[in-house]
């Protein structure tokens, strides 16, 4: 394992009518890696998965798996398993029937198929649901059924399309860890799609940030967070998003630049260089988010400790961490 499943996308393009879903996408996924595609809704994430799976054809460009061009390979010969956004479980089959579906199609012997389906179900903790129908299970259980079904495909590549999107917050947190553990166990190349920036930070060896069909940046999550390649990435990763201020204003810098600083890189400090008025204090328990405004109207979001003592209407001083100020070109939005 870990030897197969390297994916390479070369200048992939796909349009639907006048909508450009993918615009010249280059991406390399290493064998055994978990790659997370993140971007706002409609940025082309699902389209990339569908092209890799062979469910759709690119207008231009190539898809290479282990160095082989797979354009002419039909979906079922590509050895990919997909977990769809809404799971796409067969509603007329029981959970067991859903797991057996692919094995039956591939004519695996009945007792062997049964054994494998049951062991996959055990592995994902849905062993006692086998006789239920999908509409008799919860969202989290459906997600596991879909994963078990993918597991039985024994693919060289897993494609997961927003697998956690339909789960509620606590379950999402727990399942995130399970997904990571499963990937570590299997060591199979996985492309995981999400529109949730927190998920992109925690899942995946590397993330690729998409916007309107273009890849903006690829790299390990922390690196993308620390050194966003442009203003879109800076604004998309991190919550609350990075403060972006025109050059020459409170953060200094020259005209033609946009300066960025993350809320956690601004500290409340009586000796700070920036004087602002606190508009709103959002006490989140473990931390406080201050929405503030400078004398020239510049809005700055600050991440402070819990019980930081600031009150709305108060004037406070902020100290930016000079090492963590980002510079972007005002024209192109690129990092400088």
């Amino acid at each position: 394992m870990g030897e197969h499943g390297a994916i390479r996308l070369e200048s992939l393009t796909r349009s639907y009518g006048r909508v450009v879903a993918l615009d010249d996408v280059d991406l390399e996924v290493r064998a055994g890696e978990m790659m997370t595609l993140v971007g706002p809704s409609g940025s082309g994430k699902s389209t990339i998965l569908r092209l890799i799976a062979g469910l759709d054809r690119p207008d231009g460009g190539r898809i290479l798996v282990d160095g082989q061009d797979v354009s002419q390979v039909p979906p079922h010969r590509r050895a990919v398993a997909m977990v769809f956004q809404d799971f796409a479980l067969y509603p007329h089959l029981t959970v067991l029937g859903n797991l057996l579906f692919g094995l039956r199609v591939r004519r695996v012997r009945r007792d062997e198929a049964d054994r494998r389906a049951r062991s996959a179900a055990e592995r994902l903790g849905i062993g006692d649901l086998l006789d239920r129908y999908p509409d008799q299970t919860s969202g989290g259980q459906r997600q596991r059924i879909a994963l078990a079904r993918a597991l039985l495909r024994e693919p060289t590549v897993y494609l997961l399309d927003e697998p956690l999107a339909s789960l509620d917050a606590p379950l999402r947190f727990a399942t995130r860890a399970d997904l990571l553990a499963l990937h570590r166990d299997l060591g199979t190349t996985t492309v995981h799609v999400t529109h949730d920036q927190a998920e992109a930070m925690t899942l995946g060896d590397r993330v690729a940030v998409l916007d309107r069909g273009r890849i903006r940046q690829v790299g390990p999550p922390q690196q993308v967070y620390d050194e966003p390649a442009d203003m879109f990435v800076a604004g998309f990763l991190g919550s609350p998003p990075m403060n972006l201020v025109p050059g020459g204003a409170v953060l200094g810098g020259s005209r033609g630049l946009i300066l960025g600083i993350r809320p956690e890189d601004l500290t409340l400090d009586v000796d700070g260089s920036i004087e602002v008025t606190v508009d709103v204090v959002e006490a989140l328990g473990s931390e406080s988010i201050l929405l503030t405004r400078g004398a020239d109207g510049t809005r700055l979001t600050v991440r402070a400790g819990p019980r930081c003592g600031a009150r709305p209407g108060e004037t406070v001083r902020l100290r930016p961490n000079p090492d963590r100020v980002h510079h972007f070109d005002a024209e192109t939005g690129r990092r400088r």
Binding site: P75, H76, Y90, H92, Y133
Partner: protein, 293 residues
């Protein structure tokens, strides 16, 4: 919420009332009257009907024509329902996917349903004509000498069933709509698992459409036992050798030409019983096969 709930049944009945009244007056009462007339000597022309007990039933049990008629109806059912369903489902599934010109094909399939059935029957008199009819000419292309369609009992039955394969518009539309409502992702998931078009038909489309198909089968059974009246009247008048003397034809003959309303009413009840038996059998098979969840 709670006060609403108390009023709900009343509101529901109020909305239901116009339909319930119509069903009562136009269907239930005539059906009961019909059953009553079966035990009288009512001719529909002369004096008031008199109760005659089981004498009509006794006559029916000796009626060789009725036996022929039930047999003709049964064979027609076995022939026409599968053919009609096959046509409706096949064309519905084929034309459900968007494709260039698909709209025109769909119109073409629906069109015969709009044609009045007498007109369609007259058209089929020509289609089935042994000398110059296009069907025999088509067979001629394959070196077959053709049939004398409507003069031979076997081919006459087939001829009527062939004609009834065309007015299938409603069933076709139902299948078309039902197929379009199925989730395309299921098919993508199946394709990824190596399921080809035929496997998808067998493992996804047909099982997912099972409730619709059952509905169509039941509806078509009822319909097929009744709509053969016009084609039989125009094409064959129940001949040859009673091969197309379907129950509706025989009922009409008895009620309006030979014996009057009373005997006609009795065989109408027979038609109802036959329909009920066939549908019960159908539902039992469905339950046995576990077609529905």
């Amino acid at each position: 919420m709670t006060s609403d709930r108390g009023r709900k049944p009343l509101t529901a009945w109020a909305f239901l009332a116009p339909y319930a009244v119509a069903v009562g007056l136009l269907i239930a009462v005539p059906a009961l009257l019909n059953l009553g007339y079966a035990f009288t000597d009512h001719t529909g022309l002369t004096r008031d009907p008199q109760f005659v007990g089981l004498s009509n039933v006794r006559r029916m049990l000796d009626d060789g024509f009725l036996l022929d008629s039930v047999r003709a109806s049964a064979i027609h059912l076995a022939l026409a329902v599968p053919l009609r369903l096959l046509a409706a489902v096949g064309l519905g599934l084929l034309l459900a996917a968007p494709r260039p010109g698909g709209r025109w094909f769909r119109v073409a399939v629906y069109l015969p349903t709009v044609v009045p059935d007498v007109a369609l029957a007259v058209l089929f008199l020509w289609v089935l004509n042994p000398l110059y009819g296009p069907l025999n000419q088509l067979l001629g292309l394959f070196g077959h000498s053709g049939f004398t369609w409507l003069s031979d009992p076997g081919t006459a039955r087939v001829g009527v069933a062939l004609m009834l394969m065309f007015p299938i518009g409603e069933g076709f539309l139902v299948v078309l709509a039902a197929r379009r409502m199925l989730d395309g992702r299921l098919y993508e998931a199946a394709a990824l698992e190596g399921c080809g078009p035929f496997g998808q038909l067998r493992r996804l489309t047909l099982p997912l459409l099972a409730p619709v198909l059952l509905l169509l089968a039941v509806r078509d059974t009822i319909l097929t036992l009744q709509v053969n009246f016009v084609p039989a009247y125009v094409l064959t008048d129940g001949r040859p050798s009673n091969a197309t003397l379907y129950l509706p034809v025989y009922i009409f003959d008895q009620a309006f030409e030979f014996s009057g309303f009373a005997y006609g009413a009795l065989i109408t009840s027979v038609l109802m019983v036959v329909t009920a038996i066939v549908i019960t059998a159908l539902l039992l098979v469905v339950r046995r096969w576990r077609v529905l969840r």
